[in-house]
């Protein structure tokens, strides 16, 4: 069997004395589209930070392609898209091209310059997210949805095999959220990228994901979207710690 892209074994993490993640065990199989959901403060972002190597687990091991994360060298195989569309400095004078090029910096390596091939790759990535006509525009002049697509291009330009997205649709209007999911769907189907998507938007997500994980300090659910949808309101309330209304999106 192929090695899972990510495997977490008995991972715990606490800020000061507050336990945020308690003995988490799970795997992301290659080629899956995993949706990670859970209440605020349930440890989703902490889990992502552990995966990205920004935090170290107090207990347990995290392996990426079977390699312990501290020794994992192929950082460019992991792409990351954060909620940047909301938080980044809008006045930063950089063109879309320049922003996407930062996704290649580490891959090109120190003391080397960008060549023609790299430039083509950057243009390709911009094209893939449908932003070609804005290539030489300043990023600050774009809408939130457009900026988010640029950040996806930045993550794609280094040819990642795993793409991690942390609540990427927050603050983006409905029309663009739909386009966004279409894009993810394409990446998953055509480029066979393994996806880990953290989101609040469970309605839309369960239509696209292949696996669902619910996290609230511990792992509450790990299964297929159909199974998730068949959970009773009672079970979901237990998980969130308060009553839940399931909002169904109709497309």
């Amino acid at each position: 069997m192929e090695k899972p892209v990510v495997s977490m074994n008995n991972v715990s993490y606490a800020y000061e004395k507050k336990i945020v993640l308690d003995q988490i065990d799970f795997e992301i199989p290659k080629g899956s589209f995993m949706g990670l959901i859970g209440p605020n403060g349930g440890g989703k972002t902490t889990l992502i930070k552990l995966l990205l190597g920004l935090l170290k687990p107090d207990e347990g091991t995290i392996k990426i392609y079977g390699e312990p994360i501290s020794r994992f060298k192929g950082r460019s195989k992991i792409g990351f898209v954060s909620q940047k569309a909301n938080s980044f400095n809008r006045g930063f004078p950089a063109t879309v091209f320049e922003v996407v090029s930062t996704g290649l910096t580490a891959k090109i390596g120190y003391f080397k310059f960008m060549n023609k091939k790299h430039k083509e790759k950057i243009l390709q990535a911009i094209d893939q997210v449908g932003m070609s006509e804005y290539t030489y525009q300043n990023i600050g002049n774009l809408s939130g949805g457009q900026q988010q697509r640029v950040f996806i291009a930045r993550a794609l330009v280094s040819d990642p095999e795993l793409l991690i997205l942390d609540e990427p649709t927050v603050g983006i209007d409905y029309e663009n959220v739909k386009r966004f999911y279409d894009l993810l769907h394409q990446l998953h189907e055509k480029r066979n990228i393994t996806l880990l998507l953290v989101t609040h938007d469970t309605g839309t997500m369960t239509e696209h994901a292949t696996d669902i994980v619910c996290l609230n300090k511990t792992l509450h659910f790990h299964g297929k979207p159909e199974e998730y949808r068949s959970l009773s309101e009672m079970e979901l309330s237990n998980f969130y710690g308060h009553p839940v209304n399931i909002v169904k999106h109709n497309h």
Binding site: F92, T95, Y110
Partner: protein
């Protein structure tokens, strides 16, 4: 008008030094401004003053020749490393490093000046800049610093840009953010030390930030912003030096005023364009 600047050796050195710092100060200034580190330049220039006073004190008390520029450079580089240390100690209040280092620099300067029983008008030149202060040795040292700074920024350009745009992403992608940042801060310290002869301790941060502030409003993309910043920097230095010389005013003052004028024009142009 330029004739004097080519006729006399000391003026020629001043002029050429001005052209060099007109490049390197806005070059680093671009990264400083977008990373919101403008005040660090101020802190470092005051530490440089401590180094200069230290060298002047040694000269006066022990009658040994110790280049004030070298003294300023050493203090500035040490100061830059200390700032980084402090910033990692006070992670949530990083700007606290600035008043600590700034006041430390001024405090040390005062002590060195007092120990030496005061200096002649040399110190005044260091505070506000001077058109007649650049010696041949200073000039050679500034040429070396400039070549070094431009070389490092060129080979580390993509890393510096990536780090400036999004530090978290840079770290995640595997860049050694801390080391790159340290190199950057040390370069800043060197540029400040090199600029002080001409613009002076109190105004050096202006030459690093004002041309950038003007360029920022009209540039498309980061590279264009660097180009425009250097252009504005050169304009300010050349006009400022010449007018300072003929009006008998320290060039720090005239350079800063020209920079502010450029900034106002750029704001005006933008308004005009919009309306």
């Amino acid at each position: 008008m330029l004739a004097d600047f080519f006729q006399y050796d000391f003026l020629r050195y001043t002029f050429l030094t001005g052209l060099l710092i007109g490049i390197i100060a806005p070059l680093l200034g671009t990264f400083i401004v977008v990373r919101r580190l403008s005040l660090i330049a101020d802190a470092l220039s005051h530490v440089t003053l401590a180094g200069i006073s230290f060298a002047l004190m040694l000269q006066k008390l022990l009658v040994i020749s110790f280049s004030p520029l070298l003294g300023g450079m050493i203090f500035s580089v040490i100061g830059s490393i200390l700032i980084e240390r402090l910033r990692s100690v006070y992670k949530a209040y990083q700007e606290i490093a600035i008043p600590i280092i700034l006041s430390g620099g001024v405090g040390l300067s005062v002590i060195f000046i007092a120990l030496a029983n005061g200096f002649n008008n040399d110190l005044f030149n260091y505070l506000f800049g001077s058109v007649s202060a650049v010696s041949k040795n200073d000039f050679l040292m500034i040429v070396t610093i400039s070549i070094f700074v431009v070389f490092i920024v060129t080979i580390l350009y993509k890393e510096l840009f990536t780090l400036s745009f999004d530090e978290e992403h840079a770290t995640i992608s595997g860049l050694h953010s801390k080391s790159i940042h340290l190199i950057f801060i040390v370069l800043t310290a060197l540029v400040i030390a090199a600029s002080i002869r001409i613009v002076g301790v109190l105004l050096v941060s202006a030459l690093m930030t004002l041309p950038v502030a003007a360029a920022m409003r009209m540039a498309k993309g980061f590279k264009q912003m660097i180009g425009l910043s250097i252009l504005f920097g050169e304009l300010a230095v050349v006009i400022g030096l010449i007018s300072g010389y003929y009006l008998n005013i320290p060039p720090g003052g005239t350079i800063v005023l020209v920079s502010i004028l450029i900034l106002l024009i750029s704001i005006g142009l933008k308004r005009f364009k919009i309306s």
